[in-house]
């Protein structure tokens, strides 16, 4: 009996013990809430930007060889330093002179900040991290422990270990026999030196750069070959396949490729969209992918193969390895989880007697003046247009153009002049939004405009007047919002304007406005922050429109004109 009691007690204790322990833990300890960094924004140049910001913000505090960063650090002033240790243990800061350490220094154990050019040309140098405000060059046999970033261009020569990340704001070149994990720059030349005159566009069909990616799909395809091309010689669909997919030589695929196994592009093949593969991706000689490449396996670039296109950012991501043979281009970001390598030059091309001729990489020249050879070229421009072209100053749109496509020149911040021909009927959404310098756009009144889309000219701060044609029916939301110089807006008496979108003229210094009798809709905040607006004339049918009610509340003089009966009758008939 006693044994039974003991066993019963043991059973109850064992049964309840976990619950008791759990209850005690619950009472004594607060739970953990997983932390989400709400402000995190991914940036391929994160290391360089955060370090340089920290240094710049604290340079004023630098004194007696010490600077306050995340904690107080000793630093070496490279501008005045005459001697370096062989193993330099301090942060190095160069402000006024290019940073070029003497030969005796072998190891930089802490970060280097250079406000001028930087050159680390001594073989076998090891460094932890380098940020350079201007051009940087890294010579042969340098080992980077963490990262290197340049606010302009970065040239890296042969046999280097590139640590976790190398990046540049404008351009990056990486030589032969290097090891990397991540690389970023708008233009990356891989297996090349800075003086290389190769261009990725050379010898390629120019059509590939403006073909819109086709979303119509074909499934279960194994070979994309000449049997599948259309009359223009293009494969005009995307492919989704559980099999290995091979694109044969010289074909253009105007879509994406998704394979559950491997993807192989034979020599000179082009894919205008993205490639996603569960297995490996192999690019043959001179093959091109204009979109992103993502592999759960490895990616291999043969000679002259390239990813992306000038002026756009794309990514090449591999779960395992990425290998570049030579003379490759990537426009954007490269990342692999395991081994990234650029291959050694073939033995017959190596010349060990020749001393390296180190030089910096030139800043790529952006597109400043844009003209189109023909209407066809304009109408078949890439669907992203020229959005965010940093250096574009003027554009001449060919006669005959009927539409400016959506976001075509969005955020071209220095665009001053965009001459629209007298044939434009539609300016689509965001076409010129955030073109802060845009001053000349042509005379709207001579165009057969029917619609100006949402935010089409938003924040064009230098636009002064807009004389709309009679045929214009729709002014989209925020079409001219933030045009802080727009003082004159006129409509002809026979204007057919029907709609003024919300926020349409927000913040414009207009003083007086007249709208035709055809007007039916005036969106909310259409005239918000138009501090100089004194008088608005609209048909009385618009009295209840949100935009007009706003004006009445603000005390702006609003003339509500009676609509002539004839027009009312016509409207009734139309209805």
């Amino acid at each position: 009996m006693r044994t039974i009691w003991i066993l019963t007690a043991c059973f109850i204790v064992l049964l309840l013990a976990p619950i008791v322990f759990a209850a005690i833990y619950y009472k004594k300890r607060k739970g953990q809430i997983l932390h989400i960094d709400q402000n995190k924004v991914r940036d391929a140049r994160f290391f360089g930007k955060s370090f340089s910001a920290m240094v710049r913000n604290n340079l004023d505090t630098a004194a007696d060889g010490k600077i306050r960063l995340s904690r107080e650090e000793e630093f070496l002033d490279a501008d005045t330093a005459e001697e370096y240790e062989e193993v330099e243990e301090k942060i190095v800061i160069a402000r006024t002179r290019p940073f070029c350490p003497p030969e005796e220094v072998r190891v930089f154990e802490k970060e280097i900040y250079s406000a001028q050019d930087a050159a680390l040309l001594n073989q076998k140098t090891e460094l932890r991290a380098l940020y350079c405000e201007k051009k940087a060059v890294i010579g042969n046999d340098v080992m980077i422990d963490r990262w290197v970033d340049s606010a302009d261009t970065l040239a890296i020569y042969d046999n280097c270990n590139l640590g976790i990340s190398v990046s540049a704001a404008n351009a990056l070149s990486v030589g032969h026999n290097c090891i990397f994990r991540r690389m970023y720059a708008p233009v990356i030349r891989i297996g090349q030196y800075p003086d290389s005159d190769l261009t990725p566009e050379a010898g390629k069909d120019p059509r590939i750069y403006y073909l819109p990616v086709q979303m119509n799909k074909e499934n279960n395809v194994r070979y994309i070959n000449k049997e599948r091309i259309n009359e223009e010689g293009i494969v005009d669909f995307s492919v989704i396949s559980p099999h290995k997919v091979t694109v044969t030589e010289g074909l253009i695929v105007q879509g994406d490729i998704r394979s559950h196994k491997n993807v192989r592009l034979c020599d000179d093949a082009v894919v205008c969209g993205n490639i996603f593969a569960e297995g490996d991706i192999w690019l043959g000689r001179n093959a091109t992918v204009l979109g992103n490449m993502f592999s759960q396996g490895s990616i291999y670039f043969e000679e002259r193969a390239s990813a992306g296109q000038r002026g756009k950012i794309c990514s090449v991501i591999a779960r395992e390895d990425i290998t570049f043979e030579r003379d490759n281009f990537v426009f954007g970001y490269v990342s692999c989880e395991r081994n990234g390598t650029t291959l050694e030059l073939p033995k017959e091309e190596q010349d060990e007697t020749k001393l390296p001729d180190y030089r910096t990489l030139d800043t790529p020249v952006g597109l400043k003046h844009l003209t189109f050879n023909s209407l066809y070229d304009f109408e078949h421009v890439d669907w992203q247009g020229y959005r965010k072209e940093k250096e574009l100053e003027d554009v001449l749109i060919p006669a005959g153009a009927a539409m400016i496509q959506k976001s075509m020149f969005f955020d071209c911040r220095v665009l001053r002049e965009a001459v629209l021909p007298d044939t434009v009927e539609v300016v689509d959404d965001y076409a010129f939004a955030d073109c802060f310098e845009l001053k000349e756009i042509g005379d709207f009144s001579r165009m057969p405009l029917t619609r100006i889309g949402t935010s089409a000219f938003e924040n064009c701060r230098l636009l002064r007047r807009a004389d709309f044609p009679a045929g214009l029916k729709v002014l989209g939301g925020a079409a001219f919002a933030g045009c802080t110089s727009l003082r004159s807006v006129t409509f002809p008496e026979d204007s057919e304007l029907v709609q003024v979108g919300p926020h349409c003229f927000r913040g414009c210094p207009i003083t007086e406005l007249w709208f035709p009798d055809t007007l039916e809709f005036v969106g909310v905040s259409a005239f918000m922050d138009c501090a100089e607006l004194r008088r608005v004339s609209v048909p009385e049918t618009c009295a209840e429109q949100e935009g007009i009610k706003d004006l009445l509340e603000r005390g702006v003089e609003v003339e509500l004109r009676p609509v002539p009966e004839k027009e009312e009758e016509e409207r009734a008939e139309d209805a």
Binding site: A22, Y26, K30, I33, I36, Q38, F294, F410, S455, P502
Partner: protein
């Protein structure tokens, strides 16, 4: 004859439990020891698609500003972004507040619905008709997306095979009471292990109705959401898979949410999810088996996933069955090596397979201390079993009687202060009513189930 049926049911029940137990052991092992598939978050691209963010709302005056402010702070090119709050028959100040936002921001374009036909699916269908984006991203009004959330979700659609993407939700009011502590564990297991393992194994990660997105054209082509189905998110998952699309899971796209703070509210929520999920099960059981668009492994896991909200009901019947057999003196079903089955079943019933998933998730999330709370999950287990069984009966009744399920909202307990982070832990909460439309998180259900949005198990 009756005894034979009871015995056959017992064997069926045991096999069912074992299948689910194995499934979840596999998921845990996969997450802890196997190779992980990369998500697309590393991709930088200037080809990002245009998106419309839809936020269903019903009486959200106390929370909507935080969601909208968070979205306004998001990092996404504004020419490719619009925000559409869907004001669904609100009677508080939601209308006025949304109009005020529209006054300030052109690209916040609210839709106001004042009609008897309420509900998240109907609201989303209406909003999709006017949305300009190629991709629809859905958030609930009490969610606060982080700055890079929109990019993290939208980048998935660069893959031409992806029809929908699902992010991860994390409760921020974890420390409110025991229930929220336990829900936090379930969420962790459900997302960190269950969803991610399904993504790794290329089975069926589930779209969860919020913190996720889908292709608008595909959805419109399929006729939009079915307003008769309560679990419109689960239905979307199966609709996509049976048409050859995939759903993928973005573990790094994390978003805070509020977990229910009372057992009554949680019970109703679970019952509604069970009802909706089982409606989907009854509709998609045959299509899932017959479709040529799904691989064998997708079909197998898809079927198991369809049954997850039915299994607790089967299990409850199994218990009644065992009582009956015991008192009838007929428990001698097995002998000899069959004891192995009993051991397996004990491991499923007694240890609750999702414990392994939750334990693995807590290790991966770096919250090892919370493992001590695992025994208390037992109470959730019984609680959920009851409510899920009721939901299962509701769904079957819906089918038999052709009854239309009405949309319901979950009571919320949100704070009027900005969202607490981990260091603030949900202090000063005030009760409020907000629209938590549609089924979302599945609870810790049965042997082999852990909670995540969309009732994934």
């Amino acid at each position: 004859m009756v005894v034979i049926i009871l015995k056959i049911y017992m064997v069926f029940n045991i096999i069912l439990m074992l299948v689910y137990a194995i499934r979840h052991f596999l998921f845990s092992v996969n997450r802890l020891l196997c190779r992980q598939r990369l998500y697309y978050s590393d991709i930088y691209s200037s080809r990002m698609k245009s998106i419309s963010v839809l936020i269903p709302m019903h009486n959200e005056e106390q929370v909507l500003q935080y969601a909208l402010e968070a979205l306004l702070a998001c990092d996404y090119d504004r020419d490719r972004l619009e925000i559409i709050p869907i004001n669904d028959n609100s009677t508080d100040r939601t209308y006025e507040m949304l109009e005020e936002y529209h006054r300030k921001y052109e690209f916040i374009r609210p839709i106001h619905r004042n009609c008897p036909d309420r509900g998240k699916p109907v609201g989303l269908n209406g909003a999709m008709q006017v949305a300009r984006g190629e991709i629809i991203i859905v958030f609930d009004a009490d969610y606060r997306p982080a700055k890079d959330m929109l990019k993290q979700l939208a980048i998935a659609f660069e893959d031409p095979e992806v029809g929908a993407v699902m992010g991860r939700v994390i409760p921020y009011n974890t420390n409110k009471n025991l229930l929220t502590r336990l829900i936090n564990l379930e969420r962790s297991g459900g997302y960190q292990v269950d969803q991610q393992a399904r993504y790794n194994l290329r089975t069926i990660p589930q779209y969860g109705g919020t913190v996720g997105g889908f292709r608008k054209d595909v959805m419109l082509e399929m006729g939009g959401f079915n307003p008769k189905v309560l679990a419109e998110d689960t239905e979307l998952t199966y609709r996509l898979y049976t048409r050859g699309w995939k759903v993928i899971y973005a573990n790094s796209a994390e978003c805070y949410e509020e977990a229910p703070e009372t057992w009554a509210v949680r019970g109703r929520q679970i019952r509604r999810w069970a009802r909706g999920h089982n409606q989907v099960m009854l509709r998609y059981l045959i299509p899932t088996i017959l479709t040529p668009k799904m691989s064998l492994r997708e079909k197998f896991d898809g079927l198991l996933l369809l049954f997850v909200y039915a299994v607790p009901f089967f299990l409850m019947l199994g218990w009644l069955d065992s009582f009956a057999l015991f008192f009838l003196g007929e428990m001698n079903i097995f002998s000899g090596w069959w004891v192995l089955l009993f051991i397996g079943v004990y491991c499923s019933f007694g240890n609750f397979a999702p414990f392994y998933e939750i334990g693995a998730a807590l290790v991966l999330d770096g919250m090892k201390g919370e493992i001590f709370l695992l025994p208390l999950i037992m109470f959730n287990f019984y609680f959920y079993m009851w409510h899920i069984s009721l939901g299962f009966i509701d769904a079957v009744t819906d089918i038999i009687t052709n009854r239309k399920a009405s949309w319901a909202k979950t009571q919320r307990f949100t704070t009027t202060e900005p969202q607490p982070g981990p260091d603030q832990t949900g202090q000063a909460a005030q009760t409020a009513q907000t629209a938590q439309a549609g089924p979302s998180a599945a609870p810790n259900l049965q042997p082999g189930q852990t909670g995540q949005n969309g009732g994934g198990v």
